[in-house]
Amino acid sequence: MAVPALRLRNISKRFGTVQAARGVDLDVMPGTVHGIIGENGAGKSTLASIIFGLHTPDSGTIEIDGAPVNNLRPVDAIGHGIGMVHQHFMLVPGFSALENIVLGLEAGFRLGPGLARARVRLAGVCREHGLDIDPDATVDDLPVGVRQRVEILKALYRGARILLLDEPTGALAPHETEQLLTLLDRMRASGATVVLITHKLHEIMTVCDRVSVMRSGQLVAERDVKDTSADELATLMVGHDLPADGEEKAAVKVRTVLEVSGLGVRDAGGVRLTDVSFSLRAGEILGLAGVSGNGQSELLEVLAGMRPVSAGNVSVGGRRIDHAHPASPAEMRSLGVSHVPEDRQRQGLVLPFDIRENAVLGRLERCGPGTLVRPAVLQARAETMIGDFDIRPPVADRPAGVLSGGNQQKVVVARETAENPPILLLGQPTRGVDIATIALIHSRIIELRNRGCALLLVSADLDEIFALSDRIVTLCSGRLAGPLETRSADRSVVGMMMAGLGGGATA
């Protein structure tokens, strides 16, 4: 048997209290495309960073072509023929493709001759791998897929034989994804080794020879792609255990309070949402599952009035929000839409402000006459919140920034639920939060639902989605799938939907 191009033995890495990689063993054979698949936070990107020398593992060894390497830094990794294509491109704006590729390897102080030589060499590299780009195009003008090709060429130009691609299709349009997969196929044919990190089953099934499944920092399974199926991988990826607290689901759903139809969102970064339609009914929790970066944040931002609509519309409380009639966050709030944002530290709280001030963000009109704010009102609101949510330490004049993550989240949830809103948007409500707080927030969510509130729950935690939701929809590459009734939903089906593999009727 051939020597593996890349061999990891017992690699572990811990960040604070999070064990991002645990005893990972991995062999990548030369001339193959090896997939690493897993949910968000499974440790895939950490593993890639370790291979490229961006993170030093706490323990374990790395061998490249059979030779052990120690204290790997990115420069050494490049020297050993490893190239990495980051999720976020490292291309200098305003520079041509050629200039970006050549940066750092210019050969001589005068740029002219160096660039001329590089142009010839680049043409050779392009031919060898069947790639085609215009070296003189400014990178800003190139579509995302072509920019990614420039990144790949950057690595190949530096002599990479082992290419790491970290979620390479996250920002790509479907046809660009197909082009990338074809390219990887050709690169394998020309002898390159590729490690493809993704959460999309389709990509694994299309292009990979072998696949490793990661969950909670561990490699839980490894398969030859020809011997496995998308179903099996989806099950392996999300885990087997089904949560079974069905008694919490006893809601009556009749009245639609928020209707999204044909919603499209596009911004400078490309298309975020395409033709998204669903309705949210009073007294139900609609769970939105999906690997982050597939449009969930954008959807929340649209519904919260933080982002303009490009196509389609949102109807709520008799108001129709579309491209020509945008709504502000204040207006959405006045329409009864409360919002627990995904990023509590940047969007949910003003960290240097104390709990009293954070308790009334966006709701100052209720705190005194005109532009005045009555300190007693602030104090009273804060104290109610501290009592209801057991915020610790129970001191109202403490800056939000000194609270633990769980207590910060309690402040946000307390504020957004204080007035029993008819509609509540929840963005990752329990991410990075301790177990006791999770239970508290979950019980508050159920309580609101039972009172007739309509909730949209966006979570990367599939267990949470299954435990709380009445219906489940998923987003993959900005397209919505579902809804499924949670009662009849199967985790592997939801896993497939998250990975963009059909399943479920559209609403």
Binding site: M90, L91, V92, P93, G94, L103, E106, L111, G114
Partner: protein, 324 residues
């Protein structure tokens, strides 16, 4: 006709003299800002250079020593700026403002200590200043109409720093756009993470940018006190460093447009006294203050977006973040 031509040449000649420190400082700012370091400290470096040159010439009698001393002093300040905001990733504006304040105070204190003339240096004799250089053919061509006066009045007869300033523009242009150093420097100013991931040190690049900036500011300072003027007067930079910064923005961080902006400001400056008391139909007498304020007014108008947005380097003022 010939009279008007000569008048115009005299005006441009004066404009060139006044624009010289602007050009040098703006090129200094261009090199450092293209690398991603905001250089609001141009003013302080210019002032320090002016004082050091005048003091050194007074003490040694050599204009060359003065120039060298000015370059050293301004470069040192540049390195202090770099130490604060490159090595220690400090706030670049604050560091620049601090340098300006220190320069304004220190030049006066040192001047008082050395010469006891209220912060001034003793007036320099004309032998102690940069001599005017007469270019070849200036006399031969004198008789030729149009071209003769152009060569003799405008091009010839300036001091060394004026020619250095004019030469600095193509040199900076070549360095920025045609050299490996320039490619990396611009990349460091746009996306330093890409430079680091290519295995090139952003720190070294930005220090080099500041080094060049220091040298150019030093030349500008020496010109101010030992070329254009005859000795150091407190606060003699009089906002020229900031005006250079305005020209840099006006010229969108590109060498030739920046030169144009500096010359435009120079023309306005040179024309101000001539316009004083001039009767303009409908407006009446033009107040000289209105003319002096024009460069700043133009910059404000530009920044307000009337002529399209000024695109600053993408990573201006930002230390490189960690990758991964």
């Amino acid at each position: 006709m010939a009279e008007t031509w000569i008048d115009l040449l005299r005006l441009l000649d004066g404009a060139l003299r006044l624009a010289t420190p602007l050009i040098l400082c703006a090129m200094a700012g261009l090199v450092s800002e293209r690398s991603g370091v905001i250089n609001i400290a141009l003013e302080g470096k210019l002032l320090t250079g002016a004082f050091t040159a005048a003091a050194a010439v007074t003490l040694t009698g050599s204009v060359a020593v003065g120039l060298a001393a000015a370059v050293c002093a301004a470069t040192m300040l540049s390195m202090v700026h770099g130490f604060a905001c490159i090595t220690h990733r400090g706030e670049q504006i604050i560091s620049g403002v601090a340098i300006n304040i220190v320069a304004a105070g220190l030049t006066v204190v040192a001047g008082n200590a050395l010469f006891r003339q209220g912060g001034h240096t003793p007036p320099l004799a004309s032998d102690d200043r940069f001599p005017a250089l007469t270019l070849p053919f200036a006399e031969t061509l004198a008789a030729v109409p149009v071209l003769g006066p152009f060569w003799g009045e405008l091009v010839s007869g300036h001091t060394l720093p004026v020619y250095l300033a004019l030469a600095s523009v193509p040199v900076v242009w070549w360095l920025i756009y045609r050299s490996r150093f320039g490619l990396r420097l611009r990349a460091a100013g746009e996306l330093p993470e890409a430079v680091e991931s290519a295995g090139v040190s952003v720190t070294v690049l930005r220090y080099r940018g500041l080094l060049i900036a220091g040298v150019l500011c030093g030349v500008a300072g020496a010109y101010l006190s030992t070329g254009h003027g005859g000795g150091f007067v407190r606060d003699m930079s009089a906002g020229k460093g900031f005006l250079a910064l305005a020209a840099l923005i006006f010229g969108r961080w590109k060498p030739w447009p920046v030169l144009f902006a500096c010359l435009l400001f120079g023309v306005l400056d040179a024309a101000a006294p001539r316009l004083h008391g001039l009767e303009v139909p409908l407006l009446g007498t033009v107040p000289v203050a209105l003319v002096s304020v024009l460069p700043y007014g133009l910059t404000v108008v530009l920044l307000a977006g009337f002529f399209g947005r000024a695109e600053a380097p993408g990573a201006l003022g930002r230390p490189p973040g960690r990758t991964g």
